[in-house]
Amino acid sequence: MTLIRPLAYVIRDAGAIIVFVIVWQLVTVVFSVPAFLVPAPSAIAEALVANVGRVGAALGQTGAEAALGFVGGNLLGLALALIFARSRALERVGLPVAIALRSVPLIAIAPLLTIILGFGPTTIIVMAVLISFFPALVGGASGLRAPSAEALDLMRVLDAPERVRYARLRIPAALPFVFAAFKVTAPASVLAAMVAEWTAANSGLGYLIIDAGEQYRFPLMWAGIVTATMLAVAAFIAASVVERRVISWPVESA
C-alpha cells in the first residue's frame, strides 16, 4: 500500500522526462538546430556510447572526489558542531564566522587552492570538503541547540548523564538540520569537484566538459553535462532517501 504512491510518482516523473526528451529530439530534428546550440538527444547518446570509457572514467573520478570531500567535510563539520555545543564561548565567536562563510562563494577560491595545494586530486577533494564543511557545522550547531528548554530541564531533573542527553535528545533533534545540510551539500560537492577540475586537473567530468567544448565536440560536451547532472541528482536523491529512512518521526520543517 505504502509503495504504490511513490511508485506512481516515479512513473509520472519518468514519463515527464521521456516526453521532454522526445520533444527535444523532434525540435532539434525538425528545425535542424545546429549542434553547437543544442545537439539532438540521439547525437548525445551516440557520443556517450562512442566515448563510454572516457566518460565512465571521468564519472568515477569526479564521483569519488566528491564523495570523499562530502564525507570528510561533514565529519569535520559535525565534530566541530559537537565542540561548539559544549563551549558557548567558542560558539559565540565561531558560529557567526561559519554562517558568513557558508554563504560566501567558496568556489571562487578554486584558483587559490590550486596554487596552494598544487595540481591534482588533493585540491579537488579539499574543495568538496570546504563546500560540505560549513553547512554541516552550522546545521549541526543549530540542531544540537534545537531541543526545547523544557526537554533539557526534564533531562536535568531526571539526572540523565551527558551521554544520554546527547543520544536521546540533542542528536535526534539535530538530525533534521543535518539532513537539510546533506541535501544541499551532496550535489554541491559534485559541483565543487567539477569547478576544481577546471583549475587543478586534466581529467574528470568538469575537465571533460570544457575540453570537449574547446574541441567543438558538442555532443560529447553535452554527454558530460548530462552525466554530471545525473550524478548531482543521484547525490540529492541518495541524501533524501537516507533522510526518510533515518528520520521516522514527524518533523516540522523550518
Binding site: 584558483p111 587559490l112 550535489p187 567539477m194 554530471a228
Partner: protein, 251 residues
C-alpha cells in the same frame, strides 16, 4: 549583546591578520603561495584600477542577475500559489533544472552568447532563481488561514488577497532567500566569467595561470568581501524587518 559579538568578531579578525602577517614573514620563503597580508594589500593598491574595472563588470552582472533571477523566481512562486496545478507539473522540472551544475551551464551559455556580459549574468540569475522559488512558495503559503478566510468572506478579489495577505506574510521568507541569492549571484557571475576575458572570475583565473600570487589573493578576498556584503546587507534588512514584525503583530 549584538554589539559585543560584533566587537568580538572584529577582534578575532584583527588577531587573525596579525598572526598571518607574522607567520607568513617567518616561513615566507618556503610558502610563497601564502603571502603576508601587507603584500596582498600592496598588490591591491598597485592593481587598484584594473581590479576596479573587473569588479565593476562583475557587480553589474551580479546585480542584474540578482534582480532578474529573483523576479522570475517570485513570479513562478506566485503562479504556483495561484494555480496549484502548475506547481504539480512544474516543480520537478524546476528542481531538475536546478540540479544541472552551474559549472556545466557556463560553457554552454558561453557558446550560445559568446564572450561578454550575457553569459555571466544568466549564470548569476540561475543561481538566484532556485532559492527564491523555494522560499517564496513557502512564504506565500505562510499566510494565516484565518486572514485568507476573512478575505474570502469579504469577497475580496484574489489579486487583493494576494497583495494584502500573502505578500506581507512572505516578506521574511523573501528576505531569507535574498540573503542566499545575493552571494550566489556573485558566485554565479564569477563562475560565468571564468572562461571569459574580463571580470573578477577572469582575474582569478588569469592571476592563477600567471602565478601572480598576491594579486590572486587580493582578487579572491575582494570577491569574498563583495559576497559577504551582499549577505550582510540582507541580514541587516532582515534584522530590521524581524523587529518590525515582532512589534507589529500581536498574533
Amino acid at each position: 549583546m549584538r554589539r559585543r559579538s560584533v566587537i568580538e568578531t572584529a577582534v578575532a579578525l584583527v588577531a587573525l591578520v596579525v598572526v598571518w602577517e607574522v607567520v607568513a614573514r617567518l616561513v615566507g620563503a618556503r610558502f610563497p603561495v601564502v603571502p603576508p597580508p601587507s603584500e596582498i594589500a600592496a598588490a591591491t593598491a598597485r592593481s587598484a584600477y584594473p581590479i576596479w574595472l573587473n569588479l565593476r563588470l562583475t557587480l553589474i552582472e551580479a546585480s542584474i542577475g540578482l534582480v532578474a533571477g529573483s523576479a522570475l523566481g517570485l513570479l513562478l512562486a506566485a503562479a504556483f500559489v495561484v494555480w496549484p496545478r502548475a506547481e504539480a507539473s512544474l516543480y520537478n522540472l524546476v528542481v531538475t533544472i536546478h540540479s544541472i551544475p552551474l559549472v556545466a551551464v557556463a560553457p554552454i551559455l558561453l557558446i550560445w552568447f559568446g564572450v561578454g556580459i550575457t553569459a555571466p549574468t544568466i549564470v548569476a540569475a540561475l543561481a538566484c532563481f532556485f532559492p527564491m522559488v523555494v522560499s517564496a512558495t513557502r512564504g506565500f503559503r505562510a499566510a494565516s488561514q484565518s486572514s485568507l478566510d476573512l478575505m474570502r468572506v469579504l469577497d475580496a478579489p484574489s489579486a487583493q488577497s494576494f497583495l494584502r495577505v500573502r505578500l506581507p506574510a512572505s516578506l521574511p521568507f523573501l528576505i531569507a532567500a535574498l540573503k542566499i541569492a545575493a552571494p550566489a549571484a556573485v558566485l554565479g557571475a564569477t563562475v560565468g566569467e571564468w572562461l571569459g576575458t574580463a571580470g573578477i572570475g577572469y582575474l582569478l583565473f588569469s592571476s592563477m595561470a600567471n602565478f601572480q600570487v598576491a594579486l590572486l589573493w587580493a582578487t579572491m578576498l575582494i570577491a569574498a568581501s563583495v559576497a559577504a556584503i551582499g549577505y550582510l546587507a540582507f541580514a541587516g534588512v532582515e534584522h530590521v524587518l524581524v523587529d518590525w514584525h515582532a512589534h507589529g503583530s500581536e498574533a
